[in-house]
Symmetry: C2
Subunit: 219 residues, 2 copies
């Protein structure tokens, strides 16, 4: 299946399967819920950015993401897994972080031969590593390859609306021909966030997100 993943990169990065939904609620707030599917991608530290792209290099924003300040960069890298299999054109997301991190779906990880855990972004202690190649160099990530746990970003007002606090788990029911409920949607609250569920491509494809007829986020 040599060309299977060569769909246009923008499409590969974050499939624009977006659903607007007014939360059913007895209050008048009714925040609009958007669900995005994130394709595999990577975050870079300053040090790793320079090792891969050269001293003084800065990420070039290609496209803003839904959460303010985040963007898909023009930069891509190649990940080399333990069975000498690789993922090319792995998109870098900005801004830079304190630690580099790779987020893969299990479909990706299994094909690479990487046994990765489900973690919240940033929680990478003890996770597998990989070799990353850029145009100006290669690095060995000692750890940081994860499957990102499904999560929902929201601001404090939205959290109050749902009656949830940081770290709580919510349920996301996606209705349609597939009909899947995600029972462990991690709540991530930040003042600058906009209500938005992030799932990976396996989850989006399992629930047929692009065909979903209704979506319900509940405590």
């Amino acid at each position: 299946m040599s060309t299977a993943f060569s769909r246009p990169e923008v499409e590969t990065l974050v499939r624009q399967v977006t659903l607007e939904y007014l939360a059913r609620t007895r209050t008048k707030i009714a925040p609009a819920l958007t669900v995005h599917s994130s394709a595999r991608h990577m975050h870079l530290s300053r040090e790793d950015l320079e090792a891969l792209f050269g001293p003084g290099h800065e990420l070039t924003a290609d496209r803003p993401l839904f959460q303010e300040g985040n963007f898909a960069a023009r930069e891509t890298v190649t990940l080399v897994g333990p069975r000498s299999r690789l993922i090319s054109n792995l998109r870098v997301l900005g801004p830079l972080r304190s630690k580099s991190q790779v987020e893969l779906a299990y479909t990706d990880a299994i094909s690479l031969g990487l046994d990765i855990p489900i973690r919240l972004s940033g929680d990478i202690a003890g996770t597998p590593g990989a070799f990353i190649m850029g145009p100006r160099g290669m690095i060995e990530l000692k750890e940081g390859v994860i499957r990102a746990a499904i999560h929902v970003h929201m601001n404090p007002a939205e959290a109050a609306h749902f009656g949830v606090k940081q770290g709580d788990l919510m349920k996301l029911r996606v209705g349609g021909d597939a009909g899947v409920t995600f029972n462990r949607v991690h709540v991530r609250i930040d003042e600058r966030s906009r209500l938005n569920v992030h799932m990976d491509t396996d989850e989006a494809n399992a629930c047929g997100l692009h065909l979903a007829k209704e979506i319900e986020l509940t405590k």
Copy 2:
């Protein structure tokens, strides 16, 4: 990601992510539940088999499947999608059927550019087609490319145990770090069946089936 799907074919065909589970029940029956993840594959009619592999060709069983009489054949084909992308080494499952049918995960279908519906096996009227290449010829399937709906095979005694009938929908809860409930598991009852849930690779990867800590099938 050119080599991503070249994992050993047997592995590609049906990942042996199998979980034995004793259904929690107040009766003494407690049938053992096995959940299998089916990778993309194809079923062939006699006519299409001969067009692809030559007159008089018979499928060669490579490996028996869990449901008695079904097997993974040695034969594979190449599927060519509408954007001239292809899936090579698409495994043929036996025995032959009255109509040919291709079962893909959405991860496969989206990469091919095929907009396929979720259907029960055999219900292919009005679904997309594809070109199929074999060693002795090529055919145009006019229809028959589907994503198979998640389903559970069982015999009448097992159906009685669960209190379900043909065509009912059940729920399958897969617990673990992912935590996913499949709300529309179609019941397929046959005298020769063994209790067994079939999901596709997207579903298995979404729920982290290979890491699942508990599985529960309920009405």
